[in-house]
């Protein structure tokens, strides 16, 4: 368990990108655009006041995915009602293998949806307005949630990987037992010795053994 100060320091170093609508609203009669601009301004002031590392504010234009690719932020913050969401969707899709949290802000007060709204690479967020005092806990929670999900994903991948490695070692053992008339224990010892001598993983030695057998058969 990390101490709080450590955790906050970690957040200070987060590279955050905000995707924001144009701040000079063209048509003051467009309520949607006006409220988005207002929220966006409040959000950025709040982030700066809380000491976050805002590396860029990107306009929601066609270059969004290129810029995000260049900047490699840890966290992308976007207004849930922004038209930029589909462009971000493209980013999420293109970076399926290098996931990063995306926080969505909306005016919706109902936090029961948060749990349901977590999409691939998106930690969805519901807040009422955007007072700066609320932003830090939100980011903390968003990051915690993201890390938790990543951990689950890693554990799943590790388990899958471990299973694959075990299968390879088992196959190599069987091969040695069959070709060299070794007992299972001796076959295992032999593989382990080669691994230690060469500074390789058991699974690597096992794979090489199988590859060699393929070549020579």
């Amino acid at each position: 368990m990390k101490s709080k100060s450590q955790k906050n320091k970690k957040h200070e170093a987060l590279k955050i990108v905000v995707v924001a609508p144009d701040l000079d609203v063209q048509d003051m009669g467009d309520d949607h655009a006006v409220s988005q601009a207002k929220r966006s301004r409040a959000l950025r002031i709040g982030l700066l006041e809380s000491g976050f590392n805002l590396i860029a504010t990107l306009p929601a234009d066609v270059f969004l995915s290129d810029r995000i690719h260049q900047l490699q932020p840890d966290l992308i913050i976007v207004d849930a009602e922004s038209e930029a969401r589909d462009a971000l969707e493209h980013v999420v899709f293109a970076t399926r293998d290098e996931r990063r949290p995306i926080v969505l802000f909306t005016d919706d007060n109902d936090t029961t949806h948060v749990r349901d709204a977590v999409a691939v690479g998106v930690s969805a967020y519901i807040v009422d307005g955007l007072s700066s005092t609320r932003i830090r806990p939100i980011l903390d929670v968003a990051m915690a949630r993201f890390e938790y999900e990543e951990r689950l994903r890693d554990e799943r991948d590790d388990a899958r990987h471990a299973l694959q490695e075990r299968t390879v070692v088992d196959r190599a053992k069987a091969l040695l037992m069959e070709r060299q008339g070794l007992s299972e224990k001796d076959a295992f010892t032999k593989l382990r010795k080669i691994a230690m001598d060469k500074g390789l993983k058991m699974a690597e030695v096992a794979q090489r053994t199988l590859d060699m057998a393929d070549l020579l058969s």
Binding site: H32, D61, V62, F63, S65, A80, E81, S82, E83, A84, R85, D86, A87, L88, E89, H90, V92, F93, D108, H113, D116, A117, V118, A119, V120, V122, A124
Partner: protein
């Protein structure tokens, strides 16, 4: 309020619909339809998300004309800013239904377009009426259709950028199919980006993209503004192709089958009203041009819904295969083969890593039974088979019979 399926007449229709088709309503379900004694919608007020496009019209008109009340529901259209937003709100229940891209609903069900969740397609909202626009600059260099574009891309080498509206959506698939038909691989030979429909025209104006595929009115708008040309309509790619659907979640259909049926019936009737004649179409155009819906001028909408097309290079034509909301009921049936087609293309372009069980997935998503009941309630003809045969622009026939073979048959793929 008119109770659905209450009159003996409409019951007979249901039975006819059920027995005429290759698919029959399971006896248990048929019993359930009548055993309830009342088919009153469980949820009477429903929020339906839509994106500002011409093809949201039947959803909007069902509400504006009060057709919804006739079926015991109140539709509240909710304007959304992004397809991703539509998806999230459907999944978390903020929206009950949505005017949605066919491939978006399938993408969510398969887990390729965000969180995996069982989804449902209740009906097709429309056929046709999208277009591929190329910039004036490209047209001046001779690229006015797929073949001449491929030629230009081969001789005048640089990075060409094309926009669609959502990674698994319909416009991405039309654009990819069209480019690939002339040997251009959209994933390797071009740069593809995602742009919200209302921003397409502005981006083309400042030279951010060479072409885009989007729904009307944004194809016609490029011509009206003199910044692009129509290189292909989507009905050129696939005549009477499926486009937007009325989508919801699998859970919603299970929990509120009567509501699903009532809303489907109301929108079927609204589509019938739109397609009934010129005056209705003009009235629809005036209604949806409003700021609360598509937010554009009426004349940008009303040309192409009447089939009056111009390509921006002086050619004008009357297209009989313009956007249809009803087309005597053929526009709305959620054919299993239509749904499967999107899966084959998702596989083709690497959005799906493995072949799914195409027919099984389509049967899970497309709610044929509910559609048939809604069709009976709104006097909509129902086709005999849940599959249909279509010949696409390259002469290849798709009839849903061997989806795996079809998906693997394309020379140009991911």
């Amino acid at each position: 309020m008119t109770k659905l399926l209450e009159t003996p007449m409409s019951r007979r229709n249901v039975l006819q619909a059920a027995t005429a088709g290759a698919l029959t309503i399971a006896p248990a379900l048929r019993a359930a339809v009548y055993a309830q004694g009342s088919d009153k919608p469980e949820k009477e007020e429903v929020r339906i998300g839509f994106i500002p496009l011409t093809d949201c019209a039947s959803v909007v008109m069902a509400s504006v004309l009060g057709i919804d009340k006739k079926y015991g529901v109140k539709i509240i259209p909710s304007k959304e800013s992004s397809w991703a937003g539509v998806r999230d709100k459907l999944v978390n229940g903020e929206l009950d239904f949505a005017h949605a891209l066919y491939g978006l609903i399938y993408g969510v069900h398969m887990g390729t377009a965000g969180p995996k969740k069982d989804m449902a397609v209740l009906m097709n909202l429309n056929q046709n009426g999208q277009a591929i626009t190329l910039s004036k600059k490209l047209a001046d260099k001779g690229a006015v259709d797929a073949a001449s574009l491929a030629k230009l891309m081969a001789t005048d080498k640089r990075e060409y950028t094309f926009a669609q509206t959502f990674p698994t959506g319909t416009h991405a698939m039309w654009l990819y199919y069209w480019l690939a038909s002339v040997g251009v691989n959209p994933l390797k030979d071009a740069k593809v980006i995602t742009v919200p429909p209302p921003q397409m025209v502005a981006n083309m104006r400042v030279g951010n993209m060479d072409g885009y595929c989007v729904g009307e009115p944004w194809g016609h708008r490029a011509i009206a503004d003199g910044i692009g040309i129509t290189a292909a309509t989507t009905q050129d790619i696939w005549r009477d192709h499926p486009e937007k659907v009325l989508g919801t979640t699998g859970d919603f259909v299970k929990k509120y089958p009567n509501t699903a049926r009532a809303v489907t019936a109301a929108i079927l009737e609204a589509g019938k009203w739109i397609d009934a004649g010129l005056q209705n179409k003009m009235k629809m155009a005036e209604t949806i041009a409003d700021k609360s819906y598509v937010n554009t001028s009426v004349d940008v909408i009303n040309q192409r819904i009447l089939g009056r097309y111009q390509n921006g290079l002086g050619k004008t034509w009357d297209d009989p295969n313009h956007m249809k909301f009803f087309n005597d009921g053929t526009a709305n049936f959620p054919y299993l083969s239509d749904g499967m087609w999107f899966l084959t293309q998702h596989k083709r372009w690497g959005l799906l890593k493995d072949h799914p069980d195409y027919l099984k997935v389509a049967k899970e998503i497309n709610q044929i039974d509910i559609f048939k009941q809604a069709a009976a309630a709104s006097n909509t003809p129902v086709p005999k088979s849940a599959m249909r045969s279509s010949k696409l622009m390259d002469g290849v026939v798709w009839d849903g019979s061997d989806p795996k073979k079809y998906a693997d048959s394309f020379k140009v793929h991911a």
